[in-house]
């Protein structure tokens, strides 16, 4: 075995050891937090709050809602910690709670303010902005809003927040192939939206 191979093996086992130690440490934290130890709860909170908040913000697009979702996710998680069997990582379990909480919150908001517009309706280009790229962006953002929950969640997590398909699958409790399929369909719909908006803007410019 060469020196390089030896050092690689040593490095890999060190990494694995570090991951295992981190898992064990987190498992202890979860056990303590489940027993009501505020310090352990705070440590878990500090470890995960930034990523959960960021994902909640991406999904809701609203600072207040992101705050509510993050709070609720942690409150629910801490309340149920006694039931968490640590088969998955705490972060994965927490993210699943956060995503579901965010989806419920988004749906409540849609029902409340009726802001929801399906993708098929996103065809009125409105006033042509001299800076067309802004217009294009707005319409694509609206097209994302109009995607079905599953498509939107996977698109946001994968494309915008950099989660892997494996992480998404673990978080949403679906197969990796399902995550890939949802992303594929989401992108296909956004491509269609892009073509649609581009054609409409072009047409309007020609008639002006």
């Amino acid at each position: 075995m060469t020196v390089t191979a030896l050092s690689f093996t040593a490095s890999a086992s060190t990494d694995l050891g570090a991951v295992r130690a981190e898992r064990e440490q987190e498992a202890q934290l979860v056990t303590r937090a489940a027993a009501g130890d505020p310090a352990a709860q705070r440590t878990l909170y500090d470890r995960h709050v930034d990523r959960v908040y960021r994902l909640a913000f991406r999904m809701t697009g609203d600072a207040d809602m992101a705050t509510d979702v993050t709070q609720d996710a942690f409150i629910r998680a801490f309340e149920r910690l006694g039931d968490f069997r640590q088969e998955a990582a705490f972060g994965t379990w927490l993210h699943r709670i956060a995503v579901t909480t965010a989806l419920v919150a988004i749906r409540s908001r849609k029902r409340r303010d009726r802001r929801y517009r399906p993708l098929e309706d996103a065809d009125d280009v409105g006033q042509v902005d001299p800076q067309g790229e802004v217009l294009l962006r707005e319409h694509l953002h609206r097209a994302i809003d109009g995607l079905a929950d599953g498509y939107r969640t996977v698109f946001v997590m994968y494309e915008l927040e950099g989660y892997t398909h494996q992480e998404i699958a673990d978080t949403l409790g679906v197969a990796v192939a399902t995550s890939k399929g949802q992303l594929f369909r989401a992108k296909a719909r956004l491509r269609e939206a892009l073509k649609h908006v581009a054609a409409e803007v072009r047409e309007r410019r020609m008639t002006e």
Partner: protein, 295 residues
Amino acid sequence: MSTMDRDEMGDDFDRLLADVSRMDDEALDAVVARATADYNAPPAGMRPPTEAMWTRIAATQRGAPRGMRGHLHVQRWQLLAASVAFVAFGITIGRQWSGVAGSGAHAVPASQAPVTRTAVTPAPVAHAPSETTPAQVADAGNVTHVSSVHAIPRVTSPSHAAPRVDDGTSGVATASGSNAAYQLATMRHFAAAEALLASYDGSARDAKTDAQLASWASDLLSQTRLLLDSPAGRDPVRRRLLQDLELVLVQMAQLSPDASKSAALEHELIDGSVRHNDIITRLRSAVPAGATTAL
């Protein structure tokens, strides 16, 4: 921004607009990625209100804990069993009904249509590559016992489903028959979904029930997705109902068979989704009165 900059941006954008129709998927994805990168992005430098959130979380932790919901309702088993029997009975009747309807109104006997012997070509299966996904294939592969969905021709529009016949009339008949089949499959599916949701009781939990629910929901989920991708999913109202149903079924299908304790949260979230979307009411509205007996 100077006038010149704005003009340059305008030129770039015009070029982009002109190119979009010629772009391949990869190039389009690149434009989409650029235009959506800031979708719901937190403002630069924004920090989450960590301490404020923690204050509320800690306060909730100090407060009275929510009661755990764990008592089992015995009647629920009976309701569940009755629902399963109802759905099985409905599917059996539905199959027979479809067979009768198919042989009477939709099928053109070969003896009565001599021209079809030579002029009819096999009904083309319309493929939609952009819509076909690995998941879709996987989902379709998972459905092994949903015969009503398998019976649905895989087409993107009824007109494509019609066999090419010289007189042109049996094509129309087949198209309307196809629509009727989708309609029937959707109604039957809604009735089955309603039965599942009506029998679901989020306040009671146990591993066996969760396993059964997950399995049942998983079957219905596959069917829901197939219907979403079929002409049945084109009607906006029905599509939205199918999408809402999909979300609930995903949550129910995730109920772990041996996670009786940790399922409490999932049950709560399912309750929330069902309530928020009035799914049961909408399902009942979608199935015409008396249709369930006909199915």
